[in-house]
Amino acid sequence: MAEPSRREALDLFLFTSIAATGVAALSPLPFFLAPPLSPAARASAGLRTSLGSGQGKSLIYGGRPAIVVRRGDEILAFDATCTHAGCPVEWSPEKKEFLCPCHKGRFGADGAPAGGPVRKPLARLPVALSPAGEIWVGE
Protein backbone atom coordinates (compact mmCIF):
# COMPACT_ATOMS: atom_id res chain seq x y z
CA MET A 1 0.00 0.00 0.00
CA ALA A 2 1.30 3.40 -0.94
CA GLU A 3 2.17 5.87 1.80
CA PRO A 4 -0.87 8.16 2.29
CA SER A 5 -0.32 11.74 1.36
CA ARG A 6 -0.53 14.43 4.01
CA ARG A 7 -3.93 15.46 2.59
CA GLU A 8 -5.26 11.86 2.75
CA ALA A 9 -4.01 11.37 6.30
CA LEU A 10 -5.59 14.63 7.44
CA ASP A 11 -8.88 13.73 5.67
CA LEU A 12 -8.90 10.36 7.43
CA PHE A 13 -8.23 12.09 10.75
CA LEU A 14 -11.01 14.61 10.09
CA PHE A 15 -13.48 11.90 9.05
CA THR A 16 -12.68 9.78 12.12
CA SER A 17 -13.09 12.77 14.43
CA ILE A 18 -16.43 13.74 12.91
CA ALA A 19 -17.69 10.15 13.09
CA ALA A 20 -16.54 9.82 16.71
CA THR A 21 -18.27 13.09 17.62
CA GLY A 22 -21.45 11.84 15.97
CA VAL A 23 -21.36 8.53 17.84
CA ALA A 24 -20.65 10.33 21.12
CA ALA A 25 -23.53 12.74 20.56
CA LEU A 26 -25.94 9.86 19.87
CA SER A 27 -24.70 7.64 22.69
CA PRO A 28 -27.28 8.77 25.33
CA LEU A 29 -30.16 7.61 23.10
CA PRO A 30 -29.98 3.84 23.78
CA PHE A 31 -29.92 4.53 27.54
CA PHE A 32 -32.95 6.78 27.22
CA LEU A 33 -34.86 4.25 25.11
CA ALA A 34 -33.97 1.20 27.22
CA PRO A 35 -37.23 -0.20 28.62
CA PRO A 36 -37.83 0.79 32.25
CA LEU A 37 -38.38 -2.56 33.97
CA SER A 38 -40.04 -2.74 37.36
CA PRO A 39 -40.65 -6.00 39.24
CA ALA A 40 -44.23 -7.25 38.99
CA ALA A 41 -46.32 -6.90 42.14
CA ARG A 42 -48.08 -10.10 43.18
CA ALA A 43 -51.73 -10.38 42.24
CA SER A 44 -54.71 -12.00 43.88
CA ALA A 45 -56.70 -14.67 42.05
CA GLY A 46 -59.49 -14.73 44.62
CA LEU A 47 -60.37 -17.36 47.21
CA ARG A 48 -59.40 -20.97 46.67
CA THR A 49 -62.93 -22.05 47.53
CA SER A 50 -64.31 -20.00 44.64
CA LEU A 51 -62.29 -22.05 42.16
CA GLY A 52 -63.79 -25.46 41.46
CA SER A 53 -61.66 -28.36 40.26
CA GLY A 54 -60.99 -28.11 36.54
CA GLN A 55 -61.87 -24.45 36.55
CA GLY A 56 -59.64 -21.57 35.56
CA LYS A 57 -59.51 -17.91 36.41
CA SER A 58 -57.99 -15.11 34.34
CA LEU A 59 -56.16 -12.27 35.98
CA ILE A 60 -53.53 -9.70 35.19
CA TYR A 61 -50.10 -10.23 36.69
CA GLY A 62 -47.43 -7.62 36.07
CA GLY A 63 -49.59 -6.16 33.28
CA ARG A 64 -49.64 -9.49 31.45
CA PRO A 65 -52.49 -11.97 31.14
CA ALA A 66 -52.24 -14.86 33.57
CA ILE A 67 -54.50 -17.83 34.31
CA VAL A 68 -54.85 -19.83 37.50
CA VAL A 69 -56.15 -23.38 37.08
CA ARG A 70 -57.22 -25.82 39.77
CA ARG A 71 -56.53 -29.50 39.16
CA GLY A 72 -57.89 -31.50 42.07
CA ASP A 73 -56.12 -30.00 45.06
CA GLU A 74 -53.32 -28.56 42.99
CA ILE A 75 -53.34 -24.94 41.91
CA LEU A 76 -51.23 -23.92 38.93
CA ALA A 77 -50.58 -20.46 37.55
CA PHE A 78 -49.44 -19.69 34.02
CA ASP A 79 -48.47 -16.70 31.95
CA ALA A 80 -51.38 -16.78 29.48
CA THR A 81 -49.26 -15.68 26.53
CA CYS A 82 -49.09 -18.30 23.80
CA THR A 83 -45.48 -19.43 23.36
CA HIS A 84 -46.03 -19.68 19.61
CA ALA A 85 -46.88 -16.20 18.35
CA GLY A 86 -47.78 -14.33 21.54
CA CYS A 87 -51.59 -14.18 21.44
CA PRO A 88 -53.37 -14.47 24.81
CA VAL A 89 -54.65 -18.02 25.45
CA GLU A 90 -57.81 -18.85 27.37
CA TRP A 91 -58.72 -21.80 29.56
CA SER A 92 -61.47 -24.11 28.37
CA PRO A 93 -63.07 -25.88 31.38
CA GLU A 94 -64.84 -28.32 29.02
CA LYS A 95 -61.75 -29.47 27.17
CA LYS A 96 -59.42 -28.96 30.15
CA GLU A 97 -57.03 -27.22 27.80
CA PHE A 98 -55.62 -23.76 27.10
CA LEU A 99 -56.70 -22.64 23.62
CA CYS A 100 -55.06 -20.00 21.46
CA PRO A 101 -57.43 -18.14 19.13
CA CYS A 102 -54.76 -17.11 16.64
CA HIS A 103 -53.28 -20.29 15.18
CA LYS A 104 -55.24 -22.98 17.05
CA GLY A 105 -52.46 -23.83 19.49
CA ARG A 106 -53.45 -26.04 22.48
CA PHE A 107 -51.83 -26.61 25.87
CA GLY A 108 -52.70 -29.24 28.50
CA ALA A 109 -53.70 -28.33 32.05
CA ASP A 110 -50.03 -28.63 33.04
CA GLY A 111 -49.11 -26.06 30.36
CA ALA A 112 -47.46 -28.62 28.07
CA PRO A 113 -48.03 -28.36 24.30
CA ALA A 114 -51.05 -30.46 23.32
CA GLY A 115 -51.65 -29.62 19.69
CA GLY A 116 -51.37 -27.06 16.90
CA PRO A 117 -48.13 -25.32 16.05
CA VAL A 118 -46.96 -24.81 19.65
CA ARG A 119 -43.61 -26.29 20.76
CA LYS A 120 -42.81 -24.70 24.13
CA PRO A 121 -44.93 -25.05 27.28
CA LEU A 122 -46.71 -22.08 28.85
CA ALA A 123 -44.51 -20.28 31.39
CA ARG A 124 -45.33 -21.30 34.99
CA LEU A 125 -45.80 -18.53 37.54
CA PRO A 126 -45.17 -18.91 41.26
CA VAL A 127 -48.39 -19.34 43.20
CA ALA A 128 -49.03 -19.25 46.96
CA LEU A 129 -51.97 -19.71 49.28
CA SER A 130 -52.54 -17.27 52.11
CA PRO A 131 -53.67 -18.57 55.52
CA ALA A 132 -57.09 -17.10 54.74
CA GLY A 133 -57.32 -19.27 51.60
CA GLU A 134 -56.60 -16.57 49.06
CA ILE A 135 -54.63 -17.47 45.94
CA TRP A 136 -51.66 -15.19 45.24
CA VAL A 137 -49.73 -15.19 41.98
CA GLY A 138 -46.13 -13.99 42.10
CA GLU A 139 -43.31 -13.91 44.60
Partner: protein, 309 residues
Amino acid sequence: MNRLSAWLRDRTGLPSLGETLRGPASWNAAFGGVVGVLVLVQGMTGISLAAYYKPTLEGAYPSVQFILFDLRLGWLIRSLHLWGQHLLVLSLLSWLGFGLVRRSYEKPRELSWFLLVGALFTVLLAGQTGQVLPLDEDGWNGALIASNVAGPAAPWVLGGRSVSDFTVGRFFAAHALVLPLVWGMALLGHHALHRRHPEFPGGTYLERLGLGAALALALLSTLAVAFPLGVGPRGSATGVSALAKPHWYLLPVYQILKFAQVWQANLALGAVFLFLLSLPFQKRAVALAGSVVVIGTLVALGVLGALAR
Protein backbone atom coordinates in the same frame (compact mmCIF):
# COMPACT_ATOMS: atom_id res chain seq x y z
CA MET B 1 -48.70 31.76 -13.88
CA ASN B 2 -46.25 30.65 -16.57
CA ARG B 3 -43.61 33.02 -15.21
CA LEU B 4 -44.09 31.69 -11.70
CA SER B 5 -43.87 28.12 -12.95
CA ALA B 6 -40.74 28.92 -15.00
CA TRP B 7 -39.16 30.63 -11.98
CA LEU B 8 -39.89 27.59 -9.79
CA ARG B 9 -38.50 25.17 -12.35
CA ASP B 10 -35.36 27.23 -12.79
CA ARG B 11 -34.71 27.38 -9.04
CA THR B 12 -35.71 23.80 -8.13
CA GLY B 13 -35.31 21.63 -11.22
CA LEU B 14 -38.84 20.31 -10.66
CA PRO B 15 -40.66 19.16 -13.79
CA SER B 16 -43.43 21.17 -15.34
CA LEU B 17 -46.81 19.47 -15.11
CA GLY B 18 -47.11 19.72 -18.89
CA GLU B 19 -43.68 18.17 -19.47
CA THR B 20 -43.78 15.17 -21.79
CA LEU B 21 -42.42 12.03 -20.17
CA ARG B 22 -39.52 10.35 -21.95
CA GLY B 23 -39.47 6.64 -22.90
CA PRO B 24 -42.13 4.21 -24.21
CA ALA B 25 -45.71 5.21 -23.37
CA SER B 26 -47.02 3.51 -20.27
CA TRP B 27 -49.43 3.95 -17.44
CA ASN B 28 -46.69 3.08 -14.96
CA ALA B 29 -46.28 6.77 -14.18
CA ALA B 30 -49.89 6.80 -12.97
CA PHE B 31 -48.76 4.68 -10.01
CA GLY B 32 -46.67 7.63 -8.90
CA GLY B 33 -49.82 9.76 -8.82
CA VAL B 34 -51.80 7.06 -7.01
CA VAL B 35 -49.17 6.51 -4.34
CA GLY B 36 -48.39 10.21 -4.08
CA VAL B 37 -51.97 11.24 -3.42
CA LEU B 38 -52.47 8.39 -0.95
CA VAL B 39 -49.35 9.50 0.93
CA LEU B 40 -50.76 13.03 1.11
CA VAL B 41 -54.10 11.73 2.38
CA GLN B 42 -52.37 9.55 5.00
CA GLY B 43 -50.33 12.54 6.11
CA MET B 44 -53.26 14.91 6.41
CA THR B 45 -55.70 12.48 8.04
CA GLY B 46 -52.92 11.11 10.27
CA ILE B 47 -51.96 14.54 11.55
CA SER B 48 -55.65 15.35 12.13
CA LEU B 49 -56.15 12.13 14.10
CA ALA B 50 -52.99 12.83 16.13
CA ALA B 51 -54.57 16.11 17.25
CA TYR B 52 -57.16 14.12 19.26
CA TYR B 53 -55.57 10.72 19.88
CA LYS B 54 -54.21 10.11 23.40
CA PRO B 55 -51.23 7.75 23.43
CA THR B 56 -51.82 6.24 26.88
CA LEU B 57 -53.09 2.88 28.10
CA GLU B 58 -56.27 4.33 29.56
CA GLY B 59 -56.78 7.18 27.13
CA ALA B 60 -56.23 5.54 23.74
CA TYR B 61 -59.49 3.64 23.30
CA PRO B 62 -61.79 6.41 24.63
CA SER B 63 -60.01 8.97 22.43
CA VAL B 64 -60.61 6.84 19.33
CA GLN B 65 -64.26 6.49 20.33
CA PHE B 66 -64.41 10.26 20.81
CA ILE B 67 -63.00 10.74 17.30
CA LEU B 68 -65.49 8.25 15.86
CA PHE B 69 -68.69 9.23 17.65
CA ASP B 70 -68.36 12.76 19.01
CA LEU B 71 -66.22 14.71 16.59
CA ARG B 72 -67.81 16.15 13.49
CA LEU B 73 -66.78 13.94 10.53
CA GLY B 74 -64.35 12.08 12.79
CA TRP B 75 -65.60 8.77 11.41
CA LEU B 76 -64.79 9.97 7.88
CA ILE B 77 -61.26 11.11 8.68
CA ARG B 78 -60.48 7.83 10.42
CA SER B 79 -62.15 5.76 7.70
CA LEU B 80 -60.09 7.58 5.06
CA HIS B 81 -56.91 6.89 7.06
CA LEU B 82 -57.67 3.17 7.43
CA TRP B 83 -58.83 2.65 3.84
CA GLY B 84 -55.86 4.74 2.70
CA GLN B 85 -53.52 2.22 4.31
CA HIS B 86 -55.22 -0.68 2.49
CA LEU B 87 -55.04 1.16 -0.83
CA LEU B 88 -51.44 2.24 -0.21
CA VAL B 89 -50.34 -1.36 0.31
CA LEU B 90 -52.42 -2.47 -2.67
CA SER B 91 -51.00 0.20 -4.98
CA LEU B 92 -47.41 -0.43 -3.87
CA LEU B 93 -47.89 -4.16 -4.48
CA SER B 94 -49.37 -3.44 -7.93
CA TRP B 95 -46.56 -1.01 -8.67
CA LEU B 96 -43.95 -3.63 -7.77
CA GLY B 97 -45.89 -6.25 -9.76
CA PHE B 98 -45.93 -3.94 -12.75
CA GLY B 99 -42.20 -3.41 -12.25
CA LEU B 100 -41.63 -7.17 -12.23
CA VAL B 101 -43.38 -7.51 -15.57
CA ARG B 102 -41.53 -4.54 -17.10
CA ARG B 103 -38.23 -5.54 -15.42
CA SER B 104 -38.00 -2.04 -13.92
CA TYR B 105 -35.31 -3.35 -11.56
CA GLU B 106 -32.71 -3.77 -14.31
CA LYS B 107 -29.68 -1.50 -14.75
CA PRO B 108 -29.59 1.47 -14.17
CA ARG B 109 -32.70 1.47 -11.97
CA GLU B 110 -31.59 -0.93 -9.22
CA LEU B 111 -31.71 1.80 -6.55
CA SER B 112 -35.22 2.92 -7.57
CA TRP B 113 -36.32 -0.68 -7.15
CA PHE B 114 -34.67 -1.02 -3.72
CA LEU B 115 -36.36 2.17 -2.54
CA LEU B 116 -39.76 0.94 -3.70
CA VAL B 117 -39.27 -2.41 -1.94
CA GLY B 118 -38.13 -0.51 1.17
CA ALA B 119 -41.20 1.72 0.97
CA LEU B 120 -43.45 -1.35 0.84
CA PHE B 121 -41.71 -2.85 3.89
CA THR B 122 -42.05 0.32 5.96
CA VAL B 123 -45.66 0.89 4.86
CA LEU B 124 -46.44 -2.66 6.09
CA LEU B 125 -44.76 -1.83 9.41
CA ALA B 126 -46.75 1.42 9.60
CA GLY B 127 -49.95 -0.59 9.15
CA GLN B 128 -49.04 -2.98 11.94
CA THR B 129 -47.98 -0.26 14.39
CA GLY B 130 -51.10 1.75 13.54
CA GLN B 131 -53.36 -1.21 14.20
CA VAL B 132 -52.12 -1.29 17.81
CA LEU B 133 -52.93 2.37 18.57
CA PRO B 134 -56.71 2.17 19.35
CA LEU B 135 -55.98 -0.64 21.89
CA ASP B 136 -59.09 -2.52 20.87
CA GLU B 137 -58.81 -6.33 20.94
CA ASP B 138 -56.95 -6.39 17.63
CA GLY B 139 -54.62 -3.69 18.91
CA TRP B 140 -53.75 -5.62 22.07
CA ASN B 141 -53.16 -8.80 20.09
CA GLY B 142 -51.06 -6.81 17.61
CA ALA B 143 -48.82 -5.46 20.38
CA LEU B 144 -48.38 -8.90 21.93
CA ILE B 145 -47.64 -10.50 18.58
CA ALA B 146 -45.17 -7.75 17.69
CA SER B 147 -43.33 -8.30 20.95
CA ASN B 148 -43.27 -12.03 20.30
CA VAL B 149 -41.87 -11.54 16.81
CA ALA B 150 -39.14 -9.38 18.38
CA GLY B 151 -38.06 -12.34 20.56
CA PRO B 152 -35.39 -11.34 23.10
CA ALA B 153 -35.82 -7.68 22.13
CA ALA B 154 -39.47 -7.79 23.24
CA PRO B 155 -39.02 -5.43 26.24
CA TRP B 156 -37.58 -2.86 23.82
CA VAL B 157 -40.70 -3.13 21.66
CA LEU B 158 -43.15 -3.03 24.58
CA GLY B 159 -41.14 -0.59 26.68
CA GLY B 160 -41.31 -3.04 29.56
CA ARG B 161 -42.54 -6.54 30.33
CA SER B 162 -46.16 -5.91 29.40
CA VAL B 163 -48.41 -3.61 27.40
CA SER B 164 -48.28 -0.26 29.22
CA ASP B 165 -48.29 3.49 28.63
CA PHE B 166 -44.75 3.07 27.31
CA THR B 167 -45.95 0.54 24.73
CA VAL B 168 -48.54 2.93 23.33
CA GLY B 169 -45.96 5.75 23.30
CA ARG B 170 -43.45 3.65 21.41
CA PHE B 171 -45.94 2.45 18.81
CA PHE B 172 -47.29 5.98 18.38
CA ALA B 173 -43.77 7.42 17.90
CA ALA B 174 -42.91 4.69 15.41
CA HIS B 175 -46.21 4.94 13.52
CA ALA B 176 -46.53 8.72 13.39
CA LEU B 177 -42.93 9.94 13.32
CA VAL B 178 -40.30 7.33 12.41
CA LEU B 179 -41.99 5.25 9.74
CA PRO B 180 -43.57 8.12 7.74
CA LEU B 181 -40.14 9.75 7.66
CA VAL B 182 -38.56 6.55 6.32
CA TRP B 183 -41.14 5.66 3.69
CA GLY B 184 -41.56 9.31 2.75
CA MET B 185 -37.84 9.59 2.06
CA ALA B 186 -37.85 6.27 0.20
CA LEU B 187 -40.63 7.46 -2.11
CA LEU B 188 -39.06 10.89 -2.62
CA GLY B 189 -35.76 9.17 -3.42
CA HIS B 190 -37.55 6.91 -5.87
CA HIS B 191 -39.03 9.96 -7.56
CA ALA B 192 -35.66 11.73 -7.75
CA LEU B 193 -34.02 8.63 -9.27
CA HIS B 194 -36.89 8.29 -11.69
CA ARG B 195 -36.09 11.81 -12.92
CA ARG B 196 -32.49 10.74 -13.47
CA HIS B 197 -33.36 7.46 -15.22
CA PRO B 198 -36.78 8.04 -16.80
CA GLU B 199 -38.40 4.85 -17.88
CA PHE B 200 -41.81 5.43 -19.33
CA PRO B 201 -42.21 8.34 -21.72
CA GLY B 202 -45.29 9.41 -23.58
CA GLY B 203 -48.04 11.48 -22.03
CA THR B 204 -47.40 14.35 -19.67
CA TYR B 205 -46.97 14.42 -15.92
CA LEU B 206 -50.35 16.09 -15.63
CA GLU B 207 -52.09 13.37 -17.59
CA ARG B 208 -50.47 10.41 -15.94
CA LEU B 209 -49.91 11.55 -12.35
CA GLY B 210 -53.10 13.61 -12.27
CA LEU B 211 -55.32 10.87 -13.60
CA GLY B 212 -53.79 8.30 -11.26
CA ALA B 213 -54.26 10.64 -8.31
CA ALA B 214 -57.86 11.45 -9.24
CA LEU B 215 -58.77 7.78 -9.68
CA ALA B 216 -57.20 6.88 -6.33
CA LEU B 217 -59.00 9.73 -4.56
CA ALA B 218 -62.34 8.74 -6.07
CA LEU B 219 -61.92 5.10 -5.07
CA LEU B 220 -60.69 6.00 -1.58
CA SER B 221 -63.56 8.39 -0.87
CA THR B 222 -66.12 5.89 -2.13
CA LEU B 223 -64.76 3.10 0.07
CA ALA B 224 -64.37 5.34 3.12
CA VAL B 225 -67.95 6.63 2.89
CA ALA B 226 -69.69 3.45 1.72
CA PHE B 227 -67.85 1.10 4.09
CA PRO B 228 -66.76 3.18 7.09
CA LEU B 229 -64.26 1.34 9.27
CA GLY B 230 -64.96 1.45 12.99
CA VAL B 231 -63.17 0.14 16.04
CA GLY B 232 -63.44 -3.27 17.73
CA PRO B 233 -64.40 -3.95 21.35
CA ARG B 234 -62.05 -2.52 23.96
CA GLY B 235 -59.11 -4.81 24.57
CA SER B 236 -57.42 -5.77 27.81
CA ALA B 237 -54.59 -7.98 28.97
CA THR B 238 -57.03 -10.85 29.48
CA GLY B 239 -59.36 -10.15 26.58
CA VAL B 240 -59.27 -12.68 23.77
CA SER B 241 -60.83 -12.27 20.36
CA ALA B 242 -62.72 -15.31 19.14
CA LEU B 243 -60.60 -15.36 16.04
CA ALA B 244 -57.73 -13.01 15.50
CA LYS B 245 -56.81 -12.62 11.84
CA PRO B 246 -54.41 -10.02 10.48
CA HIS B 247 -55.09 -7.67 7.59
CA TRP B 248 -55.43 -9.28 4.16
CA TYR B 249 -51.86 -8.51 3.18
CA LEU B 250 -50.44 -10.49 6.11
CA LEU B 251 -52.68 -13.53 5.59
CA PRO B 252 -49.80 -15.52 4.03
CA VAL B 253 -47.78 -15.05 7.24
CA TYR B 254 -50.84 -15.99 9.32
CA GLN B 255 -51.24 -19.18 7.30
CA ILE B 256 -47.53 -20.08 7.61
CA LEU B 257 -47.75 -19.61 11.40
CA LYS B 258 -50.40 -22.32 11.60
CA PHE B 259 -47.72 -24.95 11.11
CA ALA B 260 -44.46 -23.07 11.64
CA GLN B 261 -42.68 -21.21 14.41
CA VAL B 262 -42.34 -17.43 14.45
CA TRP B 263 -38.66 -17.48 13.48
CA GLN B 264 -39.50 -19.65 10.47
CA ALA B 265 -42.23 -17.24 9.37
CA ASN B 266 -39.80 -14.33 9.82
CA LEU B 267 -37.27 -16.24 7.72
CA ALA B 268 -39.85 -16.84 4.98
CA LEU B 269 -40.90 -13.19 4.92
CA GLY B 270 -37.25 -12.11 4.94
CA ALA B 271 -36.57 -14.48 2.03
CA VAL B 272 -39.35 -12.86 -0.03
CA PHE B 273 -37.88 -9.38 0.53
CA LEU B 274 -34.33 -10.64 -0.14
CA PHE B 275 -35.56 -12.19 -3.38
CA LEU B 276 -37.11 -8.86 -4.44
CA LEU B 277 -33.87 -7.06 -3.59
CA SER B 278 -31.76 -9.63 -5.46
CA LEU B 279 -33.75 -9.31 -8.70
CA PRO B 280 -31.38 -6.80 -10.37
CA PHE B 281 -28.60 -9.36 -10.07
CA GLN B 282 -30.50 -12.41 -11.32
CA LYS B 283 -30.56 -13.85 -14.81
CA ARG B 284 -33.84 -13.00 -16.56
CA ALA B 285 -35.07 -16.60 -16.59
CA VAL B 286 -34.34 -16.99 -12.86
CA ALA B 287 -36.05 -13.70 -12.07
CA LEU B 288 -39.12 -14.69 -14.07
CA ALA B 289 -39.41 -18.21 -12.66
CA GLY B 290 -38.69 -16.94 -9.13
CA SER B 291 -41.33 -14.22 -9.37
CA VAL B 292 -43.96 -16.68 -10.55
CA VAL B 293 -43.14 -19.09 -7.71
CA VAL B 294 -43.02 -16.36 -5.01
CA ILE B 295 -46.22 -14.60 -6.11
CA GLY B 296 -48.05 -17.91 -6.64
CA THR B 297 -47.07 -19.16 -3.17
CA LEU B 298 -48.03 -15.90 -1.47
CA VAL B 299 -51.41 -15.74 -3.21
CA ALA B 300 -52.14 -19.42 -2.47
CA LEU B 301 -51.22 -19.01 1.22
CA GLY B 302 -53.25 -15.80 1.39
CA VAL B 303 -56.35 -17.49 -0.06
CA LEU B 304 -55.97 -20.42 2.36
CA GLY B 305 -55.57 -17.96 5.23
CA ALA B 306 -58.65 -16.00 4.13
CA LEU B 307 -60.77 -19.15 3.94
CA ALA B 308 -59.50 -20.59 7.23
CA ARG B 309 -61.86 -20.60 10.20
